[in-house]
């Protein structure tokens, strides 16, 4: 059976049979870099298109339908437009930081891709602290946003960046708590082990109510962490016109835009890995026939299906809810999400110690 695992393994065999170990590593690294960049561009195109179609259908519109069949090349056309536009640097801006900021945001989004298991035994770097790596690195992205806001020499940008700082730092906590709730069950931070621990059922179902609560909190917290509506305080286009990227144009803006979508992909991938079993197929108890059919679907399809479902949920939020105010946003975190997730973690620990989970 052709699977991503087999393909990568056979490439590795082919290379190591003919070349020295250093050359193999170098070539493999460049292949991975190429793949990562391609994935990046593809994800950007697909997610932006998906967002536009989802929003259109929710808003009883047709959505993009002019460029290509059913408008599928719309985002490609947009990218070309953005690439051709003048990259404008406002007068009085801190030019170095201004130009650096989109790359910081972008590189952090790229680094986050590393530990994600896209399919069975198919990850760039299955390091033993995978989840911790993601939480640690993703909090750095606020620096890029603060950089952009400060360097733009624009009050709107500054306000947006400050809001973003307050928001990301506070929501990081409950996102971390929600992740910790599952880590308590798995006992490992390694992504592959987390996935393997769910071979007999996803944590969302095995972990009783605390897992469901953790899942809801995780979705809310990461929506806030990625600056998505209803928590898009950093952009808040009706209040701050564009927030931290008000002054950005052309390709620099496109990088911010792309990074936002990559971040959504990553947090949804992590959510799918932790709660929905990553690339594990959906099994129901002793239904052998059903389970066998489910096994037949490739693991990468399972992973992407779960991830895109979560992405859709986050998009669904965006096109339904009004935006929160900044103080209400912090209220929600500190008065509701944080205490609930702390108690939730306590319960989950109890469950894990007593072995009440399935």
């Amino acid at each position: 059976m052709i699977s991503l695992e087999n393909i990568s393994a056979s490439i590795h065999q082919l290379l190591s049979a003919n070349l020295s170990q250093t050359a193999v590593i170098l070539i493999e690294m460049s292949i991975i870099a190429l793949l990562a960049i391609t994935l990046f561009a593809l994800l950007g195109l697909i997610l932006v298109f998906m967002e536009r179609k989802v929003s259109a259908w929710i808003q009883i519109r047709l959505g993009p339908n002019r460029v290509g069949p059913k408008g599928i090349f719309q985002t490609t056309a947009d990218t070309i437009k953005l690439a051709l536009k003048e990259g404008f640097v406002p007068d009085g801006a801190d030019k170095f930081l201004y130009k650096l900021a989109p790359f910081v945001v972008m590189i952090i989004a790229m680094m986050l891709l590393a530990p994600i298991a896209f399919a069975k035994n198919f990850a760039m770097w299955d390091l033993n602290i995978g989840v911790f790596f993601i939480t640690a690195i993703s909090s750095v992205s606020v620096i890029g946003i603060l950089m952009a806001g400060w360097a733009s020499n624009n009050q709107y940008s500054l306000l947006g960046a400050m809001r973003s700082g307050a928001q990301i730092i506070s929501y990081e906590i409950s996102a971390g708590m929600a992740i910790l709730t599952i880590i308590v069950l798995t006992g490992s931070l390694q992504i592959s082990e987390i996935v393997n621990s769910q071979s007999n059922g996803w944590w969302l179902f095995k972990g009783h109510i605390p897992a469901v609560i953790a899942f809801v909190i995780y979705i809310i917290a990461v929506t806030a962490e990625t600056n998505r509506a209803p928590f898009d305080m950093a952009e808040a286009e009706s209040e701050l016109t564009g927030g931290f990227h008000t002054e950005y144009s052309g390709m620099r803006f496109a990088l911010f835009f792309l990074a936002e979508y990559i971040n959504i992909f990553i947090v949804c991938a992590v959510g799918a890995t932790l709660f929905l079993g990553g690339w594990m197929p959906f099994h129901i108890g002793a239904w052998e026939g059903f389970n066998h059919i489910m096994d037949f679907i490739p693991s990468s399809v399972w992973f992407l299906g779960k991830t895109f479902f979560l992405i859709f949920v986050i998009m669904w939020f965006r096109w339904t809810f009004p935006r929160l105010r900044i103080d209400q946003l912090l209220n929600l975190e500190w008065k509701y999400l944080l205490p609930i997730s702390l108690f939730n973690l306590l319960f989950m620990t109890l469950i894990a110690i007593k072995g009440w989970h399935f």
């Binding site: 009050q155 009706s238 105010r325």
Partner: protein, 371 residues
């Protein structure tokens, strides 16, 4: 005009909101001072779309000047035209046929509905919910189609002329309006589900933009803005014009004084408008749709003040006539202008996000303010 200031001596941030800003719905310019996220000072700077309609009207005849008023508050253009036509008719002392009165009131109420729907969508958009805008437009489009069929235009109709209306209603009019009411009643529940009942929306709207009854009167607020503070100011009730004294409807009053009260006034007003339309739509009497008037209208010497209730509040048309064919002076007392003056009072001490919410609920139409 304003020098480039980023921060004043108190460490407060000075921000230009507008003239190009998504929340101002046009070319309104607000100079706000922020202490952190809190607005401490707000100063409106108007005139970006000032066309001096009052001066223009001084050289237009009494038939011609009505069309300019469609361009003031373009969302209640019928009602603006109504005010002018009423003013001219009052001065000429002519009676207009009953059929014309019915058509006028029906059209005015449909306009009010359309205007409130657009406000609802735009306000939700200001708060960051983008989908309600399209749901609101779906219903509004039906009204626009009805208008287009009868009046020949969708926004700036110029349908009311001194002495009646320009043409008779279209044969389909009655049926389509009835269909619309059925549709509207089935869809209005969505408004509550999606926005009014939403916990985020309620938290955003409650206890912001507070203006007491006394302040609302002192600032000259009218329309839903004042009625949200419990000020009875519906011209249709207090000084009934046209056939409003014969129809049953309630003046919507809320006593919360905050943005949410104003929101509720507008939502409830939609039901009242539907009620008025339902009463009148089957009762349109047969007869002429226009009274006979002279080709050239001359008004007697004197001063005439007409007030009507637009979707935003009270519109006053003050005509000073010297007995000629053109007005000597015309003053339009537009509702938005006075409502805007209360904005600073409402916004002070609230967050910048509240500024957007309060402005959304004020329902400012900038050409109405600038004229």
């Amino acid at each position: 005009m304003f020098e480039q200031v980023s921060a004043n001596n108190n460490g407060e941030l000075v921000i230009n909101v507008g003239p190009q800003h998504p929340a101002t719905h046009g070319v309104l310019h607000l100079l706000i001072t922020l202490h952190g996220e809190t607005v401490t000072k707000l100063e409106p700077n108007l005139g970006y779309i000032h066309r001096s309609i009052e001066k223009m009207c001084e050289s237009l005849s009494y038939r011609q000047f009505i069309y300019t008023t469609s361009r003031m508050d373009y969302l209640s253009s019928h009602i603006n035209n109504h005010a002018c036509a009423l003013g001219v008719e009052k001065a000429m002392q002519i009676e207009i046929p009953e059929r014309a009165e019915y058509i006028r009131v029906l059209m005015s109420e449909l306009t009010r509905l359309a205007s409130h729907q657009l406000w609802w969508g735009a306000m939700a958009m200001d708060l960051g919910a983008l989908s309600p805008f399209f749901y609101a437009f779906r219903e509004r489009e039906v009204i626009n189609d009805i208008m287009e069929e009868t009046c020949g235009a969708r926004l700036t109709m110029n349908y009311f002329v001194p002495g009646g209306v320009m043409y008779d209603i279209h044969p389909n009019f009655v049926k389509r309006v009835k269909d619309f009411i059925v549709l509207f009643k089935s869809k209005i529940a969505e408004y509550d589900e999606l926005v009014t009942g939403n916990v985020i929306f309620q938290n955003r709207m409650k206890n912001i933009g507070i203006i007491s009854k006394e302040d609302a009167i002192s600032y000259g607020c009218t329309g839903p803005t004042a009625r949200g503070s419990g000020v009875s100011c519906d011209v249709r009730k207090n000084y009934p014009y046209s056939i409003y004294k014969n129809v049953q409807f309630d003046e919507v009053l809320e006593y919360g004084c905050d943005a949410f009260s104003r929101y509720q006034v507008r939502i409830k007003e939609m039901y009242q408008s539907v009620r008025i339309i339902e009463q009148l739509i089957d009762q349109i009497p047969e007869g002429e749709f226009q009274a006979k008037t002279k080709a050239v209208i001359k008004l007697p010497k004197g001063e005439f003040y007409t007030r009507v209730e637009t979707a935003r509040g009270e519109l006053g048309v003050y005509i000073v006539s010297e007995g000629g064919t053109t007005p000597y002076r015309i003053k339009f007392r537009s509702p938005g202008f006075s409502n805007l003056s209360a904005l600073e009072h409402m916004v002070k001490g609230h967050k910048i996000g509240d500024l957007v919410a309060i402005m959304g609920v004020l329902d400012l139409v900038i050409p109405d303010i600038d004229r």
